[in-house]
C-alpha cells in the first residue's frame, strides 16, 4: 500500500471519529438542562421592610398630682384575682414611690398572681412606708376589716364574687368616702354577674358594681382597621378626671365597660372598634373606663404591664387612677361595726354591651 493511501485512510478515520464525537458532544450539550432556571422574581410583600408595623413611642413616667399623703390603698388579691405579678408590682411601685401605703387583702389562688413585689421582698406586715398587712385565706380578717382605716380599695381582675357582707361593706366604704377601683380583663363570664347587677346569673348576695351603675362585659375589643401591632390592641381617648391629659392610650386586651345614667365615661375607643361577642356590625366607640362618684372601673389591666405602661399616654392614665384612689376620704372602722345597708338588689347596667352609637 502506498503511503498516500495509508494517510488518506487515517485521515478518513480521524475525520469520522471527530465527526461522531463532535456530534455526540453537541447533542449532549443541547439536550442537557445545563442552564439553570432563573429564580422567579419574588413578590413585593416578601421584600425586606415591606411589612412594617406601627410602633408607638414609649416614654414618660407616672406622675401623681395629689395633696394626699400616706393614704392606705387595699389591693384585693382574693376573689380569684387573675393578675400577673408584674402588673401588681407596677401598681405597688407607683403607690409606694408616691408616698402611699399598700395593704393586701387575701392572696391569689391558683391561676392568679404570684404575689406582689413588696410581699416578695419580705415587706409584708406593718410598715410605715410600704405594705401594711398581708392576709390570706384562713387567716383573713375579712374584707371589711381590711377596709377599716383605708382610703381606697382596688379589685384586681376578680373572678369570684364578693359575698353579701363584703358587698355591703364595700357600699358602706364608698358611702363613707372611700374610693373603689375595679380593673378587669375580658372574661368568659360577665363581671357584672360576678359582682352583681345582671349579665350572667349573679351569685347569691353578690351585687356590688350594679349598685354603683357601672359594669363590664365579657368579650374583648379589637380593631382590624387600625390595629397597632396586633388586632387586639385598641386605642382610646380620655375625658373627665380619670381621662384628664390622656390623648390616647393603647390597650392590649380590653373589654367594654358599662356606664349607667349617673356614671361618666372616662375612656372611649376609636370608631372602628369591634367587640368579640357582639356579632357582626358591632363597630363603634366603646367605653373602656367609667366613673360613678367614688367608684371607677377600667376594662383593661394591660396598662399595668411594664412593657405597656409607658406606651402612648398609658402612664398618664395610671397616674390618674392613683389620684382617684388617694383623693377620697379615709374610712374608719365605724361603717363596718354594724351590718351594712340591706338595700334590695338592684339591676345594674350589666349584660352584653350593645354597639355604641357614637
Amino acid at each position: 500500500m502506498r503511503t498516500r493511501d495509508v494517510l488518506a485512510s487515517v485521515g478518513v478515520f480521524l475525520g469520522v471519529v471527530v465527526l461522531i464525537v463532535g456530534a455526540t458532544a453537541t447533542g449532549a450539550v443541547l439536550s442537557s438542562p445545563s442552564t439553570p432556571a432563573e429564580d422567579a422574581e419574588m413578590p413585593e410583600s416578601f421584600e425586606p421592610g415591606s411589612a412594617s408595623v406601627e410602633t408607638v413611642e414609649a416614654s414618660g413616667d407616672v406622675t401623681v398630682d395629689s395633696d394626699s399623703t400616706g393614704d392606705v390603698v387595699v389591693l384585693d388579691l382574693a376573689h380569684g384575682s387573675q393578675l400577673s405579678a408584674e402588673k401588681i408590682q407596677t401598681l405597688e411601685r407607683v403607690l409606694v414611690e408616691h408616698g402611699y401605703r399598700v395593704r393586701y387583702h387575701g392572696t391569689p389562688n391558683s391561676g392568679g398572681s404570684s404575689g406582689g413585689l413588696l410581699s416578695g421582698l419580705g415587706l409584708g406586715g406593718a410598715s410605715s412606708s410600704g405594705a401594711v398587712g398581708v392576709s390570706g385565706p384562713g387567716q383573713s380578717p375579712g374584707l371589711n376589716s381590711s377596709l377599716s382605716g383605708a382610703d381606697a380599695y382596688v379589685l384586681l381582675n376578680p373572678s369570684e364574687p364578693l359575698d353579701t357582707g363584703e358587698t355591703a361593706g364595700v357600699e358602706a366604704f364608698t358611702d363613707a368616702g372611700g374610693r373603689v377601683l375595679v380593673m378587669t380583663d375580658p372574661k368568659g363570664t360577665s363581671i357584672t354577674g360576678l359582682l352583681g347587677g345582671g349579665g350572667d346569673p349573679p351569685s347569691p348576695g353578690a351585687e356590688t358594681l350594679g349598685r354603683f351603675g357601672v359594669g363590664a362585659g365579657s368579650g374583648y375589643l379589637y380593631d382590624i382597621a387600625n390595629d397597632g401591632s396586633n388586632f387586639q390592641t385598641v386605642a382610646a381617648s380620655g375625658s373627665g378626671s380619670l381621662g384628664d391629659g390622656v390623648g390616647e392610650v393603647r390597650l392590649r386586651r380590653a373589654t367594654s365597660v358599662v356606664a349607667g345614667p349617673d356614671a361618666t365615661v372616662a375612656l372611649r375607643t376609636g370608631p372602628e372598634t369591634e367587640l368579640s361577642d357582639a356579632g357582626p356590625s358591632s363597630s363603634g366607640r366603646y367605653p373602656v373606663a367609667a366613673r360613678n362618684g367614688n367608684v371607677a372601673i377600667v376594662g383593661d389591666t394591660s396598662v399595668l404591664s411594664p412593657s405597656n405602661l409607658r406606651t402612648a399616654d398609658n402612664e398618664v392614665l395610671v397616674g390618674n387612677l392613683v389620684e382617684f384612689l388617694v383623693d377620697g376620704s379615709t374610712v374608719g372602722s365605724e361603717p363596718f361595726e354594724t351590718e351594712g345597708p340591706t338595700r334590695p338588689p338592684t339591676t345594674g347596667p350589666g349584660g352584653p354591651p350593645t354597639p355604641p352609637s357614637g
Binding site: 438542562p33 432556571a37 432563573e38 429564580d39 422567579a40 422574581e41 419574588m42 413578590p43 413585593e44 410583600s45 416578601f46 415591606s50 411589612a51 412594617s52 408595623v53 410602633t55 400577673s84 405579678a85 408584674e86 402588673k87 404570684s114 382590624i224 382597621a225 390595629d227 401591632s229 396586633n230 388586632f231 387586639q232 392590649r252 386586651r253 394591660s302 404591664s305 411594664p306 412593657s307 405597656n308
Partner: protein, 295 residues
Amino acid sequence: MYVVVAVAALLVGSALAPFVWGAFNEPDGTVAVVTLEGGIAPQSSDPVVERLDRARDNESIDAVVLRVNSPGGRVPASESLYMAVRETAAEKPVVASVAGQATSGGYMAVLGSDRIYTTPSSQLGSVGVFASVPLVQPSNVEGIVTTAPTKGTAGTPAEVRESVERTKRRFVDLVVEERGEALTVSEQTISRAKVYDGSEAVENGFADAVGGKATAIEAAADRAELDSYRTVTLGPEQSGTQSLSLTGEIDTTRYYALHGVPDGMSVTPIEALSGNATVEPGERADAAIVRGGAA
C-alpha cells in the same frame, strides 16, 4: 428472487413500524401531579418542595397540577412551599386543585400557582398567623447563664407581637398581590382570617373556578398548549394527616399559618411570658399563643 426481497422488506418494515407508530402517536407532553396533604412542617413540606423542583427541572414535564388538602402549618415551611410553587410557575404552568382545604399556610402555597380550582365545599382562606411561645426564658432559670435578657427566646412579648403582626401583613399583602383584580373583598376583610367554602371562594376571588382534579389537569395541559398528554404522579401519594409535632429537643417560638390549633397546645396570655418563669429546668412549659388575625 422477488420473494426474498419482499421478505427482507417485511422484516425491515416490521422493525421500523413501532418507531413510526410511536412517532405519530406520542403524546405532546406530560402533566405532573404533585400532592400536598396534611399539616405543613419541614418534614412534610420538604419532599413536596423537592418534587416541585424536579418537575421544574425536568424538560419532559410540561405542566404541573398541585393537588392540595392542607390546613397549613408552620410559616417558614408554608413560605418555602409558596416559593417553590411560584418558581415552578415561572417555568411552566402550575394549576392548583383544592380538595378538602387550602387554609392558612395551605392557601399560601396555592397562591403561587397560575390558577386555583376548588371543589364547591372545600375550605379556603384563614389568612392569618399565630405564634407559640415557650414559657421558659433561659435568663429566668436558675442554673443557666445567658448573655442578654432575651437570649434564647424570640424576644420580649411586644417584639413577638410585632413579629406576628409583620408576618400577618406579609400574608395579607401576598394574597392581594397574587390574586390581584380577581379579589372582590378588601384587604381588611382578608385580615379577618375568614374561611370560605369553595363556591364563596370563587365569588370573592380566593379561587378561580369550581373543578376537580381532572379539570385542573386539563387546564394545566391547555396552558402548556398540549393537544395530547400523559399524566404522571411525582412522589408517593400522601394519605392521612401529617401531625404537627410540638415535641422536640429544642423548644422555641414557632409561627403558624394554620387553621386550627395543634394537639397539645394550651393557651396562656403572652403577658405572662415576661413574668418570672416558674418552670423548672428540663420541664417543658405549655405553649402560649399570640394571635395575628383570628387564624
